[in-house]
Amino acid sequence: MKLSVWTYEGPPHVGAMRVVTAMQNTHYVLHAPQGDTYADLLFTMIERKNSRPPVTYTTFKARDLGSDTSEIFKKACKDAYDRFKPQALVVGASCTAELIQDDPGGLAEALNLSIPTIPLELPSYQRKENYGASETFYQIVRKLAKKSNKTDQLSCNILGPASLGFRHRDDIIEIKKILNDMGIDINLIAPMGASPEDIQVKTAKAHFNVMLYPEVAETTCRYLEKEFNQPYTKTIPIGIGATKEFIKEISDIFGLKTNNHYSERLRADWWSKSIDSTYFTGKRVYVFGDATHVKSSVKIANEEMGFEVVGLGCYNREFARDIRSLGKELNLDSLITEDYLEVEAEIQRLQPELILGTQMERHIGKRLGIPCAVISAPFHVQDHPARYSPQVGWEGANVIFDTWVHPLVMGLEEHLLHMFREDFEFNDSAGPSHLGGHSNHDININEKRKENINNIEEIIWEKEAELELKKIPFFVRGKARRNTETFAKDKGLNSISTEILYEAKAHYAR
């Protein structure tokens, strides 16, 4: 038994749902008690899906346990087959149904349906969501994919995009552009958008596979490599460097001419070099999420943003080794855990200036007052935006630049904060000026302001000091005035000379 407060991953059958829901003409009959239908709302709410996930739940109850739950399952299968007319039926059990051992696979087989049935054995008490997604995709491909000749033109499959994946919807569009730019045809994208017939007929036609998300597609890619002699790409093209490396990896396999596949669409490189970005340099960053996005983000943070990664970790143990070795390379401890309290403790210990994490880390950040950008599932509805916002490729690099910078204080503003850091309305805890959400603070400020006005009424500015003050840029003049007055008051002075003005400036500068 293990106490869990929040979980990074759902149970394995939710992973299966992510694959099936992404596909076309596929239906999943899930032997599950009443209540497990909650999983539908992950798709309809977080992803704003406009149709029900293609899942039938048997929703058995206590009184059914005494009679025959396997009959309920068979009826649900038959009804789903008649009602939804899928090309393939995936069947399995959730955690409770696993305990009653009804054998959904055998029961579905016995119905002799005219379509393939794909039984899933997902051990709910050992494994988790990502395993469920990976295993489901693998079982579907294994059962359906048929041998075939390769296409005449160089072509590939893009494997891994699934429902509720972090920006998978947009990554597909971006990766297609990049591959098309290289003159490579897209043969099949799966599971997202693929039907069982597509998987059956098309899979083996491709010359190679793009493994876009190892969490979902690695097992399948390995199988296809062995079965159909299809090599697969190991580089995940998230980040500028990784995208170049990805292009090189494919070019090397197939002897393509590696033109400088630089894109006019890439702006993130210049954005990062431009002087406003100098304030990123050495900013301390903590990275946590799924292994794939963490690995990419660490590289981007260190090499493309000029941050300093001070800690990293992932929640999916299947990829623990990768993350540990990356940690070793960087001389950092890596945290492999599914307990968000451990992550919180680690972040508290390291006191980074920015967190790159999941929805959980966003909450941790809120609690600790540290800005956070989301880089990985699990994510909130606000991280599934209407606009095109991929993570992979050139546009992905642009999106990542913007997203990570957003929670931070911007260039010149940061310098001013250093200068006037104890100013009552313009200080570190007031947060970046382009972000709201500091209302409580504002209330305190107002009280403080009244206090200030009363207290500093008698302070007189000498004429020269007043002139000097006017030389300070208008947008900080008010703050400089108040800071100087506060400084003077603390010193027990009742008039301000030019000297005092600069003493105050020196006092408040870092």
């Binding site: 209540g35 009804d79 409770t96």
Partner: protein, 424 residues
């Protein structure tokens, strides 16, 4: 006082045959109640003994996750727990020990049973007894089941409150208990109104902390604030308390009938009643006037969710002029919703349980102006052109009583208004 007989309508729906269907139920399980119970009962921790699915449900139902460390968690069963029972009990003790060490402010611990713990017959009541002995008097440990195989959604609160009833102290005094977790603002309004009626001793159940729990006995009367508290009602009756039956306090009419039932049980005179309620009552009427203009004549379809469906249908039909097409409820306890059923005019299909695919077909065929359903169905139905109100909001928001009558109406009007406003 014959108010309810004067309100009697030609034919209520209390005698119409109920459509009972079996099939896929698109509902939450009773664990979901923890989301509001843990905010309401401030010294309690809810420890679900279940699977990763249970933990995932709780965080998905909480939707926008609560920022602080919540006072609930899941002890996730693993392979080794499933192997042998003695093992699981020991493991549970260990988890509880760790938990109470870290959260010393906890005074009540609820061990909450789930589908897997029920199926493997893990005896949580035995565990609760054992742990109560161990941690008394600081912490009281109770158990109830929120499993999907036994409870739907709001029944979890019922099971939780019913588990507390046997622990309540005895009293011989005449007291009133308001039963059901309400948002604090509503609870305070009710306590204030009832106080003004001259009823001296009123308590809420559940109480915000263990030491403020109500007492129970032969002279205690109680009224339900929520229609899903059948087991709690029975448990209180078993302790000798008297159940004041009434319509539920939604809208002006519902709230008046509910308060009148209390007034009658405590012999409050009619003049006094009017003096106390006239103000808020006319405010509620006024607030509803505008909404009624908007909703009048529009049709409404309820998918089963919280057991609030029948009282809310009564409100929408009688106070907002809507036409109910179907009123689905996961479970209909006639003893408790009888007054609302008598007032809800015959006409709509009254259904209990669910075959969601068939029900969706009925809903689409009827094209109601407003569909009340869970979050799993709402977006898909919106995409097909139906205006929907997701029902969980009705459980989480302050909707009871006079001062919220307008807000309650507005909740139902908002999706319709949105369709009128949007030009896309």
């Amino acid at each position: 006082m014959n108010i309810s007989s004067s309100l009697k309508i030609k034919q209520g729906c209390n005698n119409v045959p109920i459509l009972k269907e079996k099939g896929q139920n698109e509902v939450f399980c009773g664990l979901t109640g923890i989301i509001w119970l843990h905010r309401k009962i401030q010294d309690a921790f809810f420890l679900v003994v279940g699977s990763r699915t249970c933990a995932h449900l709780l965080q998905s139902a909480a939707g926008v996750m609560i920022f602080a460390e919540p006072r609930f968690g899941t002890a996730i069963l693993e392979e080794k727990d499933l192997a042998g029972m003695a093992d699981a009990q020991d493991e549970l003790d260990l988890q509880v020990e760790k938990l109470l060490e870290r959260r010393p402010e906890i005074k009540q611990l609820f061990l909450v049973g789930s589908c897997p713990s029920e199926v493997i017959k893990l005896d949580l009541s035995k565990a609760a007894e054992r742990l109560t002995l161990k941690y008394a008097p600081n912490v009281r440990v109770l158990s109830y089941s929120g499993s999907g195989i036994e409870t739907t959604f709001t029944q979890g609160e019922d099971a939780c409150l019913a588990s507390i009833v046997p622990t309540l102290d005895d009293t011989s005094q005449e007291e009133l208990i308001l039963v059901g977790a309400l948002p604090d603002i509503v609870e305070d309004q009710f306590l204030s109104l009832i106080g003004k009626l001259g009823i001296k001793k009123v308590t809420s159940f559940p109480s915000r902390t263990k030491n403020k729990a109500p007492k129970v006995g032969k002279n205690v009367k109680f009224i339900l604030c929520q229609p899903f508290l059948g087991d709690t009602c029975e448990a209180l009756e078993k302790r000798g308390a008297y159940h004041i039956k009434a319509s539920f306090p939604f809208g002006e009419e519902g709230t008046t009938l509910w308060l009148k039932a209390i007034a009658k049980a405590f012999n409050v005179g009619e003049n006094k009643f009017d003096e106390v309620t006239n103000g808020p009552r006319s405010r509620a009427t006024k607030a509803l006037e505008k909404i009624k203009q908007k909703l009048s004549g529009k049709s409404v379809f309820f998918f089963p969710d919280s057991q609030l469906e029948i009282p809310l249908a009564r409100f929408l039909v009688r106070e907002c002029g809507m036409k109910a097409v179907e009123v689905g409820s996961p479970y209909i306890n006639k003893k408790i919703v009888l007054s609302d059923m008598e007032l809800l005019p015959e006409g709509p299909i009254i259904s209990e349980g669910q075959d969601v695919d068939l029900q969706i077909e009925r809903c689409k065929a009827n094209k109601p102006d407003l569909t009340i359903c869970g979050m799993g169905l709402a977006n898909p139905l919106e995409a097909e052109g139906l205006a929907t109100k997701w029902s969980i909001e009705l459980v989480f928001s302050p909707v009871h009583g006079y001062e919220q009558a307008g807000d309650l109406g507005a909740l139902f009007y908002r999706p319709i208004k949105r369709r009128e406003v949007l030009q896309i």
